[in-house]
Symmetry: C2
Subunit: 207 residues, 2 copies
């Protein structure tokens, strides 16, 4: 298996941390996003939508979309389980993961894309007012998540799962490009959880 | 099981069509979104993020997030399979489903939310320029999808899956609120696929 990826980009980081938690070592090929490496014919043949990461399987098929790649990795390397051991647990972990993806990661990504000068090269057009408003949406989710983490140790409940990876990579992206520090905005439980995640040996995977 | 849902809303429609394809009859309770039914303490106790649909299980637990609810329904009622029979197929169908969700459904939802006068009541603020640009993003995906459907009968390949449901419900939302007709914009294969989907006995579920 070969992973087409891009260091420090948040979605590739999710896959890198997921693989590292399982002890999977992937053959990596870096794609230069700022240089348009995701828009070359060669790359578009692997993912016509032009996004990293992409996992190329040993039979030559290519799999894209972060969470779908994780589903594959969980299948070939089931331990430690990160996505649920049966359909019932899978459904509840998926709920938690999607909440992180749609209500935390997505508004962070929108905010960064539409407000950060460094992202102008990757965006056809930036809508700064929209981006700023998305920062407030992210903080609403952070406030709720802070309350959740006051009562349970991990995003999906009692154990570490893919939902922690999604939330951590999202918050680290916000830390870098939005200078967002949960503790400074009154979210002490979220900050404490983030600091615990940052101590995991896998926390720097994909950086 | 009881489904808290809202007729004609696109995410509830996805779950309704998914359940109908499996022959599952759910006890439904309508939530009045325009009247703020998703912001009552009673509803927020079931989903603190205030979104429909929500599936209340027989043991009292509540499951939200459209695709997570589908994972649960697939588990309790495996036939006909709509999400993959093993991890490998699950991963590839998830890739297709996420492409529909993130690159088709999401830009449609943004476009409608930020440009349609009827949605002003549900949005804190509308950013019309952003919404208009998202309409163009959706059309880029539609153009690519039209090419895919020129070579295979269904969104994920040779058989009907959850990815068809996501794409169909997204396009029907765009048909109603963006007056989007694939055939009128040169996407003949996408239009033909849409018309085949509209003939399924389940196509009006959730309406």
């Amino acid at each position: 298996m070969k992973l087409y990826t891009s260091a420090r980009a948040p979605n590739p980081r999710r896959v890198a941390m997921f693989a590292a938690e399982k002890g999977i070592v992937l053959d990596e090929q870096q794609v230069d996003l700022n240089g348009g490496g995701h828009r070359t014919p060669d790359f578009l043949a692997r993912n016509p939508l032009g996004r990293v990461p992409v996992l190329e399987l040993d039979d030559g098929r290519t799999l894209s979309e972060t969470r779908a790649i994780c589903t594959w990795l969980e299948g070939v390397h089931p331990e430690p389980n990160l996505m649920g051991v049966d359909f019932a647990e899978r459904a509840f972990i998926e709920m938690a993961d999607r909440r992180m993806e749609l209500h935390l990661f997505a508004p962070i990504a929108h905010c960064v894309r539409h407000t950060h000068p460094g992202l102008a090269v990757l965006e056809p057009q930036q809508f700064a007012d929209f981006g700023t408003a998305q920062g407030a949406v992210m903080r609403d989710t952070a406030r709720w998540l802070d309350g959740v983490l006051a009562t349970q140790p991990y995003v999906a409940g009692e154990r570490f799962t893919i939902a922690d990876i999604t939330a951590f990579c999202a918050l680290e992206f916000a830390r870098g490009l939005m200078r967002f520090r949960p503790g400074q905005e009154g979210f002490a439980h979220l900050q404490a959880w983030r600091d615990r995640m940052a101590e995991r040996p896998t926390a720097r995977a994909g950086m």
